[in-house]
């Protein structure tokens, strides 16, 4: 492979990893817990900003041309972990504003509003967030270990992103297959019934928000440490719809389906259109992309609302154990045998 092509492939793989992490976070909130989380991009942006400013040196670096909070030049894993913590923590105020006592469609609007407030504040508070310019020159983690060999570093970062994705998958799997995950789904399917079974709805919502928010922040952190820049205009609320489209296309509340959706919607579209010739006015291809995303949403909601890989339904035995395919098969055999015995008698 030529090195230019390797750069392209590695960058694409990292973007895919970032989008998959983010989509898993949103899927936990939207697919599993049933929260129409239109402010999801705020978690990603906050995580990205946190990781960026913690990895950056003091504000006086590089001639002091940008303002930001922090600037502690912290070593590698700390900015990412801190970003996750911030993602989980900001879930609490956002959740308390938007999720308490509101109808689900009001919640959606309230969260949309939160997203817009956040981006206006980030754009206008030049002293805090450096305004629309955002931050740049965020150092790449562990880059000094590679002695300027950029291509090897790219592959290293691909491996790192993949490892993070694997860990995140295990965590998401653990959460969705735990009693907590069951409570999330109960809340999604019938809030009143879940509440009648003494499930604390507000607590569950906040928890889903926090876990999904931490994942979103993680994805943002990985992205910003890779590309080295952060600007509020890249994190506007329509970006949430792209992830939402990926989830709906891939399969709501199915982690592998989400991966398929991400590979099709953000990665497939963004990259597919890269190879289109420049036709018409600038922005035409961009508009076409959004039209295609809208059409894809409608087509999937109409023909296959469950997505390409639908959610797997779990059954539980009386002792609370998960009924697997093998159990079903054994039960079916046992019943057939009993039937044969009875008829032969």
């Amino acid at each position: 492979m030529s090195s230019a092509f390797q750069f392209y492939v590695t960058t694409l793989l990292i973007y895919a990893g970032v989008d998959i992490l983010a989509a898993w976070g949103l899927n936990l909130q939207f697919g599993t817990a049933g929260l129409l989380s239109f402010a999801f991009i705020v978690f990603q942006a906050a995580g990205a900003y946190t990781a960026g400013v913690l990895a950056l040196g003091p504000q006086t670096d590089n001639g002091g041309y940008q303002h930001y909070i922090g600037g502690y030049a912290l070593p590698f894993p700390i900015p990412i972990l801190a970003a996750m913590a911030v993602g989980a923590v900001i879930a609490v105020p956002i959740g308390l504003i938007a999720l308490r006592r509101l109808r689900s469609d009001y919640q959606a609007v309230a969260l949309l509003v939160v997203s817009i407030i956040a981006s206006s504040i980030a754009t206008n508070e030049t002293e805090l967030f450096n305004g629309a310019a955002g931050i740049s020159l965020v150092p790449h983690p562990l880059a000094d270990q590679f002695g300027g060999d950029l291509l090897t570093y790219q592959w290293f970062y691909v491996g790192f992103t993949a490892a993070v994705c694997l860990v995140a998958y295990l965590i998401v799997h653990r959460v969705t297959h735990s009693p907590l995950g069951r409570a999330f789904r109960a809340m999604r399917d019938n809030e009143q019934a879940a509440s009648a079974l003494a499930k604390d709805i507000t607590g569950l919502r906040l928890l889903a928000f926090a876990i999904g928010g931490a994942l979103g922040a993680l994805s943002g952190a990985i992205l910003v440490l890779f590309i080295g820049t952060w600007a509020p205009s890249a994190w506007l609320y329509p970006e949430t719809f792209v992830l939402l489209a990926a989830i709906i296309v891939g399969g709501t509340n199915n982690s592998l389906g989400t991966v398929v959706g991400v590979l099709l919607v953000p990665i497939g579209f963004a990259e597919g259109s890269r190879f289109l010739p420049e036709i018409g006015h600038p922005g035409l291809i961009d508009a076409g992309q959004w039209i295609a995303i809208g059409l894809m949403l409608l087509i999937f909601l109409w023909f296959r609302p469950q997505g390409i890989l639908p959610e797997r339904k779990h059954r539980y035995a009386n002792d609370g154990r998960l009924v697997t395919v093998l159990d079903e098969l054994a039960g079916w055999l046992r019943r057939s045998l009993a039937l044969i015995q009875r008829s032969s008698r």
Binding site: I97, R103, D105, L112, V113, V114, G283, D286, L301, W302
Partner: protein, 296 residues
Amino acid sequence: MPYLLGPSIGFGLVTASILALAAVGFTMQFGVTNILNLAYGEVMATSGFVALIVNRAGLSIWFGMAAAAVFGAALSYLLNRVIFIPFARRGTKLFGMVIVTIAVGLILENSILAITGPNFFSYIVPQESTYSVGFLILTTSQIVLMGLATLAMIAVHSLLRLTRLGMAMRATASDASLARGCGIRTERIVDAGWLISGAMCGIAGVALFINTTSFTSATANSFLVVIVAAAILGGVGQPYGAMLGALVIGLTSEIAAAFLNPAYKNVVAFVILVVVLLLRPQGILAQIAVQREIAR
């Protein structure tokens, strides 16, 4: 009075007028159909561009506004018939419907963008003269817009209170199945709801574009959240609440723009919304309105 207060109240009243047109249309449709239509901003934009075509053809912008009203009504009616109702029949719930409306909005907005390109447009409006009314200084088109909004509010009030259609709409909004049981053809009422709200949406789109003087395919969509804020502030589905919400948000956002950072104009409105949602999630007027409905 501080010297900025007068003009900002003037701007606030104009914004409130546009907002009232849009929010009352939005909330009436929501009340009757229970669909939170996030494609509303894009219907405004599409109608606004229809008015642009009429205006560019050499007709006055007020003809353009009439055309936009007709177009907005037709587009809303068609969207409901061709997309929203079939989805609802197929079992898409409130939640999924919000996503359907977003998808429709994305398609509409980006279709305009694909046709017009990322350019700024403006209507040809006749020479404006300014009038000072008390401490307010207003242009001709601003006065016309305010008058128009006032007329529309009176029309909505008369429709809801004095006509059989309005009564049927209120009945459908408060309990659709009960209304059907009483022999109201709710399907027709829903159609009427979309037509009326679409017409108001078209008028509001042109009003918004006249007031912002230059606009793109995305202008109306960024205004949508303010509209929804006004509607929720008053209690969604409550036309009188939406009027009040529009007045509150229009005035506070313009006054805030004059005295704080203008970039925070909408943020102030949203903060009011968030506070209201925390203290009175049902909106300002919901309780009063519900009691009034019972008393009749």
